[in-house]
């Protein structure tokens, strides 16, 4: 298992990091799932991302951390196909790709889950679960829903995830909490064979129990071999799940930290100190 590619492709400051003993099972000898090569992005004359190299392997959880305005969301949008980088190239499963639209990224198996864009409140659980990918029998020009089958499949998939509060897929999703909705959305992504999951602050404004649910869903996704890239501000939520933590600052990757390398306080201090240095 080589640590090489990561260092080679990352920003030079990465070289200073001692290679820690790895405790995770991410197989980095394989083909990476997603690769950013020398990516830069500008909004008009404002450059937001500077020459970023980043790899995500299958079954790996990568957390993007950093201060506000560090470029985390911009990077995520590039991953999701919402933004076309100004320069550099993207490689997905070994092939160079250009998305253009989020729909094309989705078609390849890149699923972005946003807190407020995950679920339609008024629809029942199974209708949400299969929205846009309904199982339907074609009768002439009509697409007749296979309701029983979708209900059963949604219930099975969600039962596997351990959301025990959900009794029936006929239930409207009003009753679900913010965390449960995201868990449903993540389960949906796994069910439909997504390969890379993108999460923008999945634990923001969630209770402790809900946060645990969402983090469990992230684990679930990783165990199914998905790559996960997510942004989070709370280091207590980052450390237990992330295999790798990527620290961004002013649009550059300034450090990449492997699982178990640092503790929560250390990490928080690191971000705060760098922010302070940047200001002075």
């Amino acid at each position: 298992m080589s640590h090489g590619p990561q260092n080679r492709n990352s920003h030079p400051t990465d070289a200073a990091i001692p290679v820690a003993e790895k405790r995770n099972e991410v197989d980095r000898s394989r083909e990476p799932l997603f690769e950013l090569r020398a990516i830069s992005h500008s909004y008009g004359r404002n450059k937001a991302i500077f020459d970023v190299n980043l790899l995500v392997w299958p079954g790996e959880v990568v957390a993007l951390v950093g201060d506000n305005g560090a470029g985390k969301s911009t990077l995520l949008k590039i991953f999701a196909g919402y933004l076309e980088p100004t320069s550099g190239s993207l490689r997905f499963m070994g092939e160079e790709v250009r998305f253009g639209t989020p729909a094309r990224a989705r078609a390849l198996g890149i699923e972005a889950v946003y807190q407020d864009l995950a679920i339609v409140d008024q629809l029942s659980l199974w209708r949400n679960f299969f929205l846009g990918k309904e199982i339907a029998r074609k009768i002439g020009p009509l697409q007749v829903l296979e309701r029983r089958r979708m209900r059963r499949e949604a219930e099975t998939a969600i039962a596997k995830l351990g959301l025990t509060r959900i009794r029936s897929a006929e239930q409207p999703v009003w009753a679900l909490s913010g965390g449960e909705r995201q868990s449903v959305a993540i389960t949906r992504a796994i069910y439909f064979g997504a390969k890379l999951l993108l999460l923008d602050e999945p634990t923001a404004a969630l209770s402790v129990r809900e946060t645990r649910n969402v983090l469990a869903s992230i684990h679930q996704a990783r165990d199914h071999g998905l790559g996960v890239l997510y942004i989070d501000h709370n280091m207590n939520h980052v450390l237990p799940v992330a295999d790798r933590i990527v620290l961004l600052e002013h649009g550059r990757i300034v450090r990449t930290i492997d699982r178990g390398e640092v503790g929560v306080e250390e990490l928080q201090e690191l971000i705060a100190r760098r922010a302070q240095n940047a200001e002075s």
Binding site: A112, L117, I119, Q122, L123, A136, Q171, P172, W174
Partner: protein, 322 residues
Amino acid sequence: MKSFTESLLNVRELAPGLGLLFVVLFFTLQTGNFWSPETMTAVSSVASTIAIVAVGVTILMISGEFDLSVGQNFAFTPIVWALLFVSDGINQWISLIAALGLACFVGIINGLVTTIFGIPSFITTLGMFFVLEGLNNLLITGHQLMMFQPSTAMWLLGAQIGNTPFYMPLVWMFVIAFVFWFVLTRLRYGNWTLATGGKVGPAKAMGVATIRVKRINFVLSALLAGLAGCMQFSYLHTVTQGQGQNYELLAITAAVLGGTSLFGGMGTIWGSVIGAYLLATIQIGLVLIGVPGSFYVTFIGVLLVIVVIANVRLGRFGGNQA
């Protein structure tokens, strides 16, 4: 497993159904002739056409848009139909199809203008309301078109059913409501309609063609309004430019009384049919108990506001009902 009572409480048509039952009981007790054939004809013929218009308005409202032009379309389409096949001597079926095609065209314009320019459909269709009002006035200039010998098409759309007190629009209402109920609850298109009106962002993110869904529903709403107008003409054998006055508001009222959300994403077809019957029963019932006819709209106005307050209080619009 859900208990029986729980399933029953989840039926959205329950509340309006109970309301209708209450109103019917009230008028049965207060009047001697509520179940007479004349009353049944009056209630069912008023309710059927409002219900058909309301079905179209409902599916459009569920996808998150309004149509205020249905009342004028309700007169416009039969006027065009009648003028074509009476004055111009065109085959009755061809002229019917042409008139309904024109109704659809109205819906296409409503849908395109709303979705392309991103303005509230309330405004688009209010504009269309005035356009059609002007056209109706231009077409028959205050006259009344009357048919002394109804044609086959008119017979099919509006004739009496045997010796019963009921007329063809009632049959069409059931057929149309059934078709739209099926579309809304059993087809992928129905799922997309609910999602589009529920929350456009996630729906779009999941690959639902929200713009197309809205455009199609604008057309369906306009088509049903025009078709119901042709039925009214076939039943009455006459049409004036005043036909369908207030129907845009009555159709929305029927939908809301039947449990359709003003904010989209929720509603049922049968609820709107029940809502239309609620309106018709109250209208005819009030006449029977000797209340001045004009009191009807006042009463409906108060009822509408109370129902919406109750719905908001019960969280049916807010979305926190389990």
